[in-house]
Symmetry: D2
Subunit: 222 residues, 4 copies
């Protein structure tokens, strides 16, 4: 199996922008280095450039719009995200949904700009559909688990397994992330055992008292 991928979404938490983002980046860089896992951060747009300059970590945008460079005030263009140093981008996160047409178009633009792509989906059917676009990753976020504090392994492992099956039935090589219900190393282990290639998580790390300790625990059972 390829190196598991742990992607931390900093959202727009106070604990996740500016100086706080830098502290989390520092911890993530250290733990990724020590444990030979891949840990990425998805900070707010304003922190993409400074995190990229100061840390050696894959930095992901939280979203890109389905627009090319041009007259699109306030929008996020894949090329500008790349120019700021990002490695990849989330697309269609549950808090930033796109139309079907725009998921496809934003994905195509992100790829053309040289970004790795993580398309977020909410259930088995949308996972299978999004797989048709051949992203690098599909991150499944079952609505029942988002921010619930319930572990994916306890709650409904079946939705993850069936989503992996749906994705693979459409495109064999698309990787899958477990996108909700992750807070401990035990959860990460379950996610990998269910056939996914890593995890996408947010509050479990960002809002923790000691993010570094949580990161250390997350990678402990891999």
């Amino acid at each position: 199996m390829a190196t598991p991928f742990i992607l931390i979404n900093l959202k727009t938490y106070t604990e996740g922008f500016g100086h706080n983002a830098q502290k989390i980046a520092q911890s993530a860089e250290r733990i990724a280095h020590e444990n030979d896992v891949r840990i990425g951060l998805a900070p707010g747009y304003m922190d993409i450039h400074p995190l990229n300059v100061h840390y050696s970590l894959p930095v992901f945008a939280q979203h890109v719009d389905a627009v090319s460079p041009g007259a699109h005030t306030g929008h996020i263009v894949a090329e500008a995200v790349k120019a700021a140093g990002a490695t990849g981008t989330l697309i269609n996160h549950s808090e930033r949904r796109l139309t079907l047409a725009d998921v496809e178009s934003a994905h195509t633009m992100a790829r053309a700009a040289g970004l790795e792509t993580v398309i977020c989906t909410n259930n088995v059917a949308t996972s299978g559909a999004a797989a048709f676009f051949s992203p690098d990753y599909i991150a499944i976020e079952p609505p029942e688990l988002i921010g619930s504090g319930v572990s994916v392994s306890k709650a409904d492992p079946e939705i993850i397994e069936r989503s992996v099956e749906a994705v693979r039935s459409v495109r064999e090589t698309v990787k899958v992330l477990t996108g909700a219900g992750i807070s401990t190393g035990e959860c990460v282990k379950t996610a990998l055992d269910l056939g996914t290639d890593g995890v996408l998580l947010a509050s479990g790390v960002v809002k923790a008292k000691d993010p570094e300790a949580v990161l250390r625990d997350l990678v402990s059972k891999i």
Copy 2:
């Protein structure tokens, strides 16, 4: 092959609501009856009930929202569309895009309400993705052809053929409509020859001086 399906989208054209909708319905009913083809109308919401009461034609909503009955002022609930007498509904028309999650959810709700489903898509990739939801029809509307007056057969038959292939590669039984570039019986013939099961068109009929003559021409080469 099954009976070809000709679905006329009345949009919100002045020529397509109220009394004008009734005149088009009358013509469509007559020509469908005389020629043994299936002609459906997708009128504005307010005309679903009267058209259904007065004519013997499949009536489609132009859109349904991904919401259940409840506190959703101004939205379109599949069950209410069904209660008004509709046979089916368009979903995700190019002028009324939905998020990927909502396409799936609106489709599931429309099915549960007993509506036939036509999901509109804009290219090969989104056609393949939407096929994963197993709608009754995928209507492909290549943006280059929408309202262009250019016939699909002249412009780019390949996008239709490749979309049909994409749909069938995901779900063998999903039918496909050619959703743009249709104005004459010759275009309808081309659409069927390209492997689609019918057509979705609008202005060619609705804004015609003599809609009945256009309808008569549309079915003439089937």
Copy 3:
């Protein structure tokens, strides 16, 4: 003072469409007639035409889009709403928000089509802003009260009073409806005492076991 206006929003409640809408309309017509108050209904789009044909009541659309007749599949055009028999329309309901530009444009189009206009707002500041468009009514729906079951008089009468002031400071003649926190005749009385010209309510009537009894109570203290 002008006759108070009681506007019942049927939303997309199961209890508010099709046959259920007709029953509420029948009750509302009877009680309005007996008590010399003005009671209007805002049903789903599909019920505008049948309610208008069968009952003698002002019928309001729940929403209109900021588009003219044309290629706008799935949208709500003011002229089509008028053609279906509506008297007026809600604009910018809390469940169907419009951009600032579209509130203004939809309002202008509704007026041009001959519809009475009720612009919904959420606080003092947006009430003052919307008043600048000179609608017939501003309906204030403080988010704290929407669907809360708490009476406006108990909760926060001040937000209503200050909104009335804000509206009148911009446009003296714009009428105001209390748009949340209304379930009894006592609430209606409070709403009128606070300087508003009527009420906009929904679940209190629509989801009641006996809507006619609730309507009778609502008008009892006027």
Copy 4:
């Protein structure tokens, strides 16, 4: 009169992000310094931090969302914009419209975060409405002029004059920017003569062969 304000919106033009943004900032800083006018830049989000670090210029965000810090992946939080060093923000640009409720809420949040606010509007009525929120500036962008290359003075000076009147009738102290139809120093002079306090422009500078020459011309008649 206060120092006129020239605000350059870099949009998502290729000529306006990354290194190109830095070159424009360098020119703008020099010309502002030499001429004692206030020149601000509104770059893409990723360039807010580097421009703020390297240049002594007011930097504006192109948009903020109506959300507080929290679980809002992909959104723009006023506090994070401020933390990145921004001086102010555009709100409701014609390419990034917000609902009426969100214009008010985003404005309130931007103010609370200590940002200067520029609310964009499209006509006389929306200018008057937005003035009720007491922003620092209203930037009027008549749709007829946006990106048209037509000078505001030639096209329709009246819409600017009437918008200024509308704004002042609601809030005496709100300043106004002419937000379209500006490409030369002559246009800037006209804008000031019409009673506005500055200009908002984009392509005229950003897509110019020699942005510094354009900037020099823009300030030449003040």
